[in-house]
């Protein structure tokens, strides 16, 4: 029990506990809106005194209606360390918060934000290979991770989307693949890979597209591309709960200790 937020370092029975300044609600102004797909936008925010973040962390966002009604949601940071905070919001049809953040909010408007939060699903840029598996908007924290990765280490991305038009960060992924240390495989769970790849446009041509859900062969190849289990890759899986469970099953089947997999399920 508590009398509410403590906003400075405090002592409890002589024990020094970490200050929680970053967990106070702060104003965040929308600085830039990037249309990633038809129904997913990245909001780049301007937060006074933003302390920076570690790849994989998230923030809580609070919206207040004129009658005082409030709604709070958690969003992963898609921004790398040293960048202003950026959130990629996927519109959930019939949702209460995401349609507002995708359809209505405009540059200059504000939300309240607290964070960054999290110390488990994070990547500090250690010199190890990175295996990133994302379903749908689960790519958001993984973008922060590939941006934070050591350019000398392999980064292997496995993405699952229903159809090509729903892939987040396609251009950035393609650029990183072209630049060298990143490889990416994109599974289309509800669409065939078109015969005429030209139609997909330039970014997607650089990515390895496959029809159907992520298969065990993809996972095995991805692990091999990271140098195998002996290379001790950082393994991060993010997506809807059922997707994450399926991926942990495949990764364990490929020889990874499930306890070494960091997962983030968002429902």
């Amino acid at each position: 029990m508590t009398d509410g937020p403590r906003l400075s370092g405090t002592r409890a029975g002589g024990l020094r506990v970490a200050p929680l300044v970053h967990l106070a609600w702060r104003k965040a102004a929308v600085d830039l809106v990037v249309e990633e797909t038809a129904d997913a936008h990245t909001l780049v925010l301007d937060v006074a005194g933003w302390p920076g973040s570690v790849a994989g962390q998230h923030v809580d966002v609070r919206l207040t209606a004129p009658d005082g009604y409030q709604a709070t949601r958690s969003y992963s940071l898609a921004s790398g360390p040293g960048e202003p905070p950026a959130l990629t919001v996927q519109e959930v049809p019939g949702g209460e918060v995401s349609p507002y953040l995708v359809r209505d909010i405009a540059v200059g408007e504000t939300v309240e934000l607290r964070g960054p939060i999290g110390g488990y699903f994070v990547w500090t840029g250690a010199r190890r290979p990175l295996l990133l598996v994302g379903g749908g908007s689960g790519l958001a924290p993984l973008r922060a991770m590939w941006r934070a990765a050591d350019p000398a280490e392999p980064v292997v991305v496995v993405a699952s989307v229903t159809e090509p038009a729903r892939l987040l960060y396609a251009v950035e992924l393609a650029e990183r693949v072209a630049a060298g240390n990143v490889s990416a495989t994109v599974h289309l769970s509800r669409a065939d890979v078109p015969d005429d790849a030209e139609r997909l446009g330039t970014p997607l041509q650089a990515l390895s597209l496959r029809t159907g859900r992520v298969a065990s062969t993809t996972v095995t190849q991805a692990l091999t591309a990271c140098g195998g289990t002996e290379a001790d890759p950082g393994v991060f899986v993010c997506g809807p709960t059922t997707f994450v469970e399926a991926m942990i099953h495949l990764l364990a089947g490929a020889g990874l200790d499930p306890r070494s997999i960091r997962a983030e399920r968002f429902g």
């Binding site: 919206l63 209606a65 004129p66 009658d67 009604y69 918060v97 507002y100 209505d104 408007e109």
Partner: protein, 195 residues
Amino acid sequence: MAGFQGRPRERDDRMPPGQYLTRDFPVLTAGPTEVLSPDEWQLTITDGTSTGTFDWDGLHAFGLETLTTDIHCVTHWSKLGTTWRGVRVSTLFDVVGVDDLPYALVTSYGGYTTNLQVEDLVERDAMIAVEFEGEPLEPEHGGPARLLVPHLYLWKSAKWVSRIDLVEEDTPGFWEAAGYHNHGDPFLEQRYHGD
């Protein structure tokens, strides 16, 4: 630019203070949905001396009664004019012949608990409900059988009800122990401990 509004929050005179009207039926749960077939379900009612256990057929032997009522969730939504079918709790208490004890602790499959005064179970419309709007009660809504105490906030209406213990001393249930009100009357807005 309208700014954030949240979902439309419609009002109606029949509603308790602080509630908004909803037309869908939100699924609220503190744990995994229990999936039980009617064959697996049973309800035990005991006062420590007299004990009765009802299985699916045993419950239906009393005949189902229809109840049209409003329901109110402490998370601020209300739903008006919902129709349920089930067996009155008072009928089952009479059959078991439980003693006149003041409190009840209700337990669900999956371990959820809630506490009530026995008068709230016998003096108004409380029932063991098995149908909602003419259909078998879905697992997400507590099927095959849930407690329904419509004059109290809906957390008192335990889903997947498995046991009712009548006791001398009141013991807080799951949400009551976490800070919610012991009684939970929506018209008195008894949301939290101390309201």
